[in-house]
């Protein structure tokens, strides 16, 4: 048996995508929401490595796909329309596919509390005059209340995201009000991997990404952290995984946008757009 060759260098976006990929089992139906390129990169990587038979579904196109195409800013529909096996429309997805099949999906919360409850609606004290209005909950306030395949990711771990109390609970975690399904199973951030096996479904640090200290994670988390007894280092990406991500899965590096904001993100958007229109 060959020994796994770990990558000599990798970036945190690559590590997050690899962590996402490793949560995917072969044969699963996996769903991608809007504006989640780290997830898309992870899904495609899974397909190209250990999970060749996954089926993709997406908010864009509302189709099921066996095939894939690299993420694109300008041609986001390409994968979902050209590779569609069957198209449902959003009404059937929301009222039939999601409640019937309860597929695995990775969500990016704007706030998450110790129990994996999440908020994507607003930041502030007053819903009617929010400090920051967010885009809205999409389908998170639906599927997290009945599904059991909610996975979370946080590209920029901070006390702004990980809070003791949410300003608004739009995604249901491990919460006493739950009637159906179960709270999130997993969370990956740029600092480590977490499960929710703490007391009453509390978030628990399971692995630290290479070079990250427990102290740093705790400092950047707005509530006391549970830590798994066998806390260890996140297995780094393999050389093959990094190669695939960079050269095959997402050569434009669209996944990296999720780690940037403001001027830096706009700068990178411009670079990617230029490369796309230059005919990548």
């Amino acid at each position: 048996m060959e020994t796994t060759k770990f990558a000599d260098d990798f970036t945190v976006d690559e590590l997050i995508s690899v962590c996402i990929a490793r949560q995917i089992a072969n044969g699963e139906l996996i769903v991608q929401g809007l504006a989640t390129p780290l997830v898309m990169a992870g899904y495609i990587l899974a397909k190209l490595t250990h999970a060749p038979d996954v089926l993709f579904a997406s908010a864009i196109g509302q189709s099921l796909c066996r095939g894939w195409a690299p993420p694109s800013l300008s041609h986001a529909e390409a994968m979902w329309l050209d590779k569609a096996l069957i198209t449902f429309g959003f009404t059937r997805v929301a009222t039939e596919l999601l409640p019937r099949f309860r597929p695995k999906e990775f969500f990016r919360p704007a706030q998450v509390d110790p129990y994996g409850n999440t908020n994507n609606v607003f930041i502030g004290q007053d819903y009617h005059r929010p400090r920051l209005r967010l885009p809205g909950s999409g389908g998170i306030a639906d599927v997290t209340t009945y599904g059991d395949q909610a996975y979370l990711y946080v590209p920029r771990h901070s006390r702004i995201v990980f809070v003791e109390r949410l300003d608004f609970r739009s995604g249901l975690g491990h919460h006493p009000a739950r009637k159906r399904g179960r709270g999130p199973r997993y969370l990956v951030s740029d600092l480590g991997q977490f499960d929710f096996e703490g007391p009453e479904g509390r978030m628990r640090l399971v692995t630290l990404h290479p070079g990250v200290t427990l102290r740093r994670v705790q400092r950047k988390t707005g509530f006391p952290l549970e830590v798994a007894p066998d806390l260890h280092e996140t297995p780094p990406p393999t050389a093959e995984e990094v190669h695939l991500l960079r050269e095959v899965v997402d050569p434009l590096g669209i996944r990296r946008l999720e780690l940037l904001s403001g001027q830096a993100r706009r700068q990178m958007l411009r670079e990617i757009l230029a490369r796309e229109s230059g005919g990548a």
Binding site: Q62, A94, F122
Partner: protein, 286 residues
């Protein structure tokens, strides 16, 4: 539209488009924009940055008397909706996502919401989908999973919870969603309003059946479509030729998303929105 007599629904389908009997429903963008009235619920088809009826929005904003106090209805709202909010036409927003995806927050929506100038009817995918299905079925609600345990009901005091008549649990009774005018952008349409939307359907088909009036803008309007349709002209009141009518959003496979145009918008707004809008209405950016 079709002549099937009276209807008893809360939101009956429209009773006759610009062209009355099936036949030529072609109208201009200005005529289409004139169909929207003060206080209407206006639904925009497509998804976030994809196949949005942007040319229609421009025509609406170019009206000397743009209608105000609109309720904006969309599964997801993006650039075109942000323009309507920034220009002050929108009083209420019904959507489950208002933003520009990786291009960032929708600046005018974010500002208006922060200042308390918008009524937000907080929605989710399920509440919009079941709400439209309720309208189509002629009932006041559809029960569905979702919301219970979240704080959604606290910001939607109009939404009721019903007991499961066959069991112990309860369901949210997602209320029927009414719509005055729906505007959808198509790849191709014919003069009767039959249309091909492409594969990214969103909730366009349900909006077209739920709305009192339906306008289709299309990249190309032909005499008669005989390919498999996504939308039957039966429900369509006006057809508008609008080449590049989704720009800067995409119209796959005809043209891509114009990301540079979106970046110019997010960099100008909210501070320079008025200048941006003036230039955009003049067509400087076309």
């Amino acid at each position: 539209m079709m002549a099937t007599g009276e209807r008893d629904g809360q939101t009956p389908p429209s009773e006759g488009g610009a062209g009355a009997s099936p036949g030529d429903k072609r109208i201009s963008l200005a005529e289409a924009a004139a169909l929207v009235q003060e206080g209407d619920t206006l639904a925009l088809g497509g998804l976030t940055l994809y196949r949005r009826p942007v040319a229609f929005v421009r025509a609406l904003l170019r009206r000397p008397d743009p209608p105000r106090h609109l309720t904006l209805l969309a599964l997801t709202a993006g650039f075109e909706s942000d323009l309507l909010v920034g220009a002050g036409l929108v009083e209420r927003v019904r959507t489950c996502y208002f933003g520009l995806e990786v291009f960032g927050l929708a600046p005018m929506f974010t500002q208006a919401a922060g200042e308390g100038r918008l009524t937000i009817v907080e929605e989710t995918e399920a509440s919009i989908a079941f709400g439209l299905r309720a309208t189509l079925a002629g009932v006041s609600f559809m029960p569905g999973l979702g919301w219970l345990g979240t704080e959604m009901l606290s910001v939607r005091p109009d939404v009721k919870v019903v007991q499961d008549p066959y069991g112990e649990g309860e369901y949210v009774a997602f209320p029927a969603i009414a719509c005055d005018v729906a505007v959808l952008h198509a790849l191709r349409a014919d003069r009767e309003g039959n249309a091909v939307l492409g594969g990214n359907l969103g909730i366009d088909q349900e909006l077209a059946m739920a709305a009192r009036r339906v306008i289709v803008t299309a990249e190309e309007v032909v005499e008669r479509l005989d390919e498999p349709l996504d939308l039957a002209g039966l429900v369509v009141d006006g057809v508008v030729p609008a080449p590049r009518g989704a720009w800067p959003t995409s119209c796959y496979p005809f043209y891509p998303l114009d990301g540079e145009a979106l970046l110019r918008y997010v960099e100008a707004c909210p501070v320079h929105f008025a200048d941006y809008l003036d230039a955009w209405l003049r067509g400087d950016d076309e």
